[in-house]
């Protein structure tokens, strides 16, 4: 039985570390040092974090009817 966590466990620990702010434990770090695939998933989680933080660009605009409803609700002329 291996002392090191499995790929399944490491992927979960990587996700949890993003939310707890706590560093990975030693066994998980050793696993990452020898497992290129798990290092990729760590990088992919970082991609997700950076991409999600970016404000939306483009996309649908509010319809003219909706804008008219908003103006009425605000009492605009």
């Amino acid at each position: 039985m291996s002392l090191l966590p499995s790929c399944r466990e490491v992927s979960k620990l990587l996700s949890e570390a993003l939310d707890s702010g706590r560093p990975l434990g030693m066994h998980a770090r050793i696993h990452l040092s020898i497992c290129a695939v798990c290092r990729r998933v760590a990088a992919q989680f970082a991609w997700l974090r950076h991409g999600a933080a970016r404000p939306p660009e483009g996309g649908p605009a509010l319809s003219a009817d909706a804008k008219a409803r908003l103006k009425r609700s605000l009492g605009a002329p």
Binding site: R8, K12, S15, F45, L48, R49, P60, L62, K67, L70
Partner: protein, 188 residues
Amino acid sequence: MTDPNTWIDSYADRLYRYALSRVRDESSAEDLIQETFIAALRSRDRFKGDSSELTWMTGILRNKIFEFYRRQAKEVPLLPSDEDSDPESEFFDGRHWSASSAPRDWGGEPARKAESVEFTAALRSCLDALTQNVARAFILREMEGLPAPDTAAALGVAPAHLAVLLYRARMRLRRCLERNHFAPEAAA
């Protein structure tokens, strides 16, 4: 401060896109920006001009979004049974990645490349494919940057359940992006 009569023409589209990206429902997004404009109108005397009007209104909108999520959590509580008890099983074969789910190298520096318009558009498209509970967890935690304890409170779930939802979101999003953005031809 500008004339409130100009706010809708100046800011409504950008606030609407922001709201829509967070609540994924046109009617709710429209309601949220209406609430935002009304709140801004009522509190405009407190606007100090330390930031732009748009930034100030976006801050109001974010609070409205958090209120929206809290209301939703009270009306339709998320239960652990809403999600599979073993969300990672489909990605693994025993202790290791299954051949079809092993992450590939996306290349480049995430901090720079992940902010491309193409990547963020693909990410939002993949987000639409998530179940509502999983998407909400990801939106509040990663898009809004809400700390995990606050995200759990807003969704009305235990911290351990939030961890499951976020793990599921990240795993599904990374697979969706890999198949549809990075190597769609490989997934065909």
